[in-house]
Amino acid sequence: MELKEIENIVEGILFAMGGTVEPSKIAKALEIDEKQVVEAIESLKSNYKEQNRGITITEIDGAYQMCTSPDIYEYLIRIAKQPKKYVLTDVLLETLSIIAYKQPITKSEIEKIRGVSCDFAVSKLVEFGLCTELGRLDAPGRPMLFGTTEEFLRSFGVSSIEELPELSQTQIEEFKIEAENEANNVEVTI
């Protein structure tokens, strides 16, 4: 099968199926190699980009989904009713970032980092579909473990957990130096 032909089929499949579609599924249906499917998708993506098209394809946890290009948002919201946006409070965001980076994690581990009870925050995040229960830790009390969902990746525009922004060691060092410099300007008495 020609690459162009695969591209066309994949484009139609992604459009019709909606949601995330795994490349392995398409490969099976087309009786071709999964590598060829991924190649076709990547080629489609770059075509869309070159032509400044209104749609694009995004990768979420190894699967693909069609979505609009952020460039057309301004026009899109004039015609589409703006979906209700829930705003994540600082508490929720902080809790979410701890879960995202440390998953699977128990509530008590989150509480240890934040120094505050997190029952409310965690249940809200689960309610929003950003976090989910992952099973129980094999420890006294069998505490519940939490992790992030596919919806989390979509809401934050990352294709996998590994792609989350990271605080580099240099950034952490910067924190330290910053604080030290500030300290030097102040007389510290103990």
């Binding site: 992604l14 459009f15 019709a16 199926m17 909606g18 949601g19 995004t58 989904q65 069609m66 979505c67 609009t68 290009s69 952020p70 948002y73 899109l76 589409a80 946006k85 994540l88 600082d90 508490v91 965001l93 902080e94 979410l96 970032s97 701890i98 995202a100 980076y101 240890k112 980092i113 934040r114 120094g115 505050v116 009870s117 979509r154 809401s155 934050f156 525009g157 990352v158 989350l164 922004p165 605080l167 950034q171 952490i172 924190f175 330290k176 604080a179 030290e180 500030e182 300290a183 300007n185 102040v186 510290v188 008495t189 103990i190």
Partner: protein
Amino acid sequence: MEMNVKLQAFEGPLDLLLHLIDKNKVDIYDIPIVEITDQYMEYVRAMDQSDLDVMSEFLLMATTLLDIKSRMLLPREEKEEDGEEAEDPRAELVQQLLEYKMYKTISYQLRDRQMDASLVFYKEPTIPDEVLKYEQPVDLEELMGDLTLNKLNDIFNQVLKRQDNRRDPIRSTFGKIKKEEVSLEQKMEWTIAFAKAHNTFSFRNLLEASHSKTEVIVTFLCILEMMKAGQINITQEDTFTDILIESKIAA
């Protein structure tokens, strides 16, 4: 009251502590604990005390601070022998603060990402679930093939036979091990007979005829039973010494 409004902004004790450290422009690794504790306590005192849960979290931090403060005020022991410096009582708090600060920074980055991502609309599934998950019903005719009632009977017999074959021919002839039972009544009769034959005897004599733990226990129960009925008198000189039994039943 002014304070209260301000305090709403703090998400917890660590948040307040970070704020105080920033405000005082001090090094997170070298917190002037006395000053910070005083300021922290000032905030806590001004807090709305109606929410006990929140309050207790802040108070827990306050006690931690006071604990560190008191340890800082104590003269430091110089541990020159092992060449190790005594650990800074603030170390654990600093670690906690740093980690908290790290996640706070990351959460701001996540917020930016969310803003960007909210400009994108995703293609939702258009094909209904029942269509997507449709599976062709099983064709019974095809599934049954040339299966007849006779064939089914054969298969059933084969299954039974297989179960039979699985039985170990040697072990299956072994009898079951029965639980040994010593009845209290029987033992009673025997003990009374023994008591009639002997005027005085020790509990140990009585046990010589016992073969198992259960039997010993039942024998002991007999003794208690007979004592209650006034058929025997019992004396024991000391703990763990032999129990002497005097029979009151005439031979």
